[in-house]
């Protein structure tokens, strides 16, 4: 019996970031669900309410950090899953490029959207 098992390379930067983002996301994802499904029901979400929430700097910054951490955690998680699946060489490089581009596009669109909701744009 080993002391630990992890599919990640230990002591790597991505390994650490995956866990730091996980700790942040546990709290913020739960908060997001509570606020937008229980405090405010999803069916009652409207433009005005979204604008009011996003005009609060703390909330807007939290949501942007949520986007950044979730994108990294998810994209890095997919990459690790594909490595575990046995993907190597050119295929892995191609997948990595697509994942990085998709992640950057998602973050760019998400920040543009957050700034519009905030009224900055």
């Amino acid at each position: 019996m080993a002391d630990y098992y992890s599919s990640f390379e230990r002591s790597g930067t991505r390994w650490l970031l995956q866990r730091i983002t996980a700790a942040f996301l546990v709290v913020v994802l739960a908060f997001h669900f509570m606020l937008l499904h229980f405090v405010n029901h999803a069916a009652e979400i409207r433009f005005a309410g979204t604008s009011v929430r996003m005009q609060q700097a703390g909330y807007a910054i939290t949501m942007i950090l949520f986007l950044l951490t979730a994108t990294f955690h998810g994209v890095n998680g997919i990459y690790n899953a594909l490595v575990n699946q046995g993907l190597t060489g050119t295929k892995l490089t191609a997948v990595k490029t697509v994942l990085v581009l998709a992640g950057l596009l998602l973050v760019a669109q998400g920040i543009r959207l957050a700034l519009a909701m905030n009224g900055f744009l």
């Binding site: 630990y4 998810g74 669109q109």
Partner: protein
């Protein structure tokens, strides 16, 4: 000093009958992770209707929420997110060296707690749709 734990090839899903609790936890964590990142892209795409103006954003969100299938999918999303959070906490503790000896029981606890939270949330998620 610790050694590697030879669990066999978990990616060979044909072995699923031999999977232990920890291996099921691994499979479910990966599955829920894929669903969540897929949903994140969809979520940002739907919310991007905000850029088209108030009428489009309101019509899109209320239109989607009026569909029962969307409400049911939201319950599924909650199940996926709650399990990923609870199992993720379990993984963080195991990585910190806490609870490795009871990792199978904490996996079962994650499943039970996920089920309880989801069942308790169903009325809230389906309110107004049925």
């Amino acid at each position: 000093m610790s050694g590697a734990y030879d669990r066999g090839l978990i990616e060979d899903f044909g072995r699923w009958r031999e999977f232990s609790a920890g291996m099921w936890a691994w499979v479910l964590h990966k599955f829920t992770g894929w669903v969540l990142i897929g949903y994140l892209f969809t979520h940002v795409a739907v919310l991007s209707t905000f850029l088209q103006g108030e009428a489009t954003y309101n019509a899109t969100l209320s239109g989607l929420e009026s569909l029962l299938v969307v409400r049911v999918l939201e319950v599924g999303l909650l199940a996926v997110a709650v399990f990923h959070i609870l199992n993720g906490l379990r993984l963080l503790f195991v990585d910190l060296g806490i609870g490795l000896g009871s990792q199978d029981r904490s996996f079962y606890a994650s499943l039970v707690l996920t089920g309880a939270i989801v069942v308790a949330s169903v009325p809230t998620f389906l309110a107004g749709a049925i």
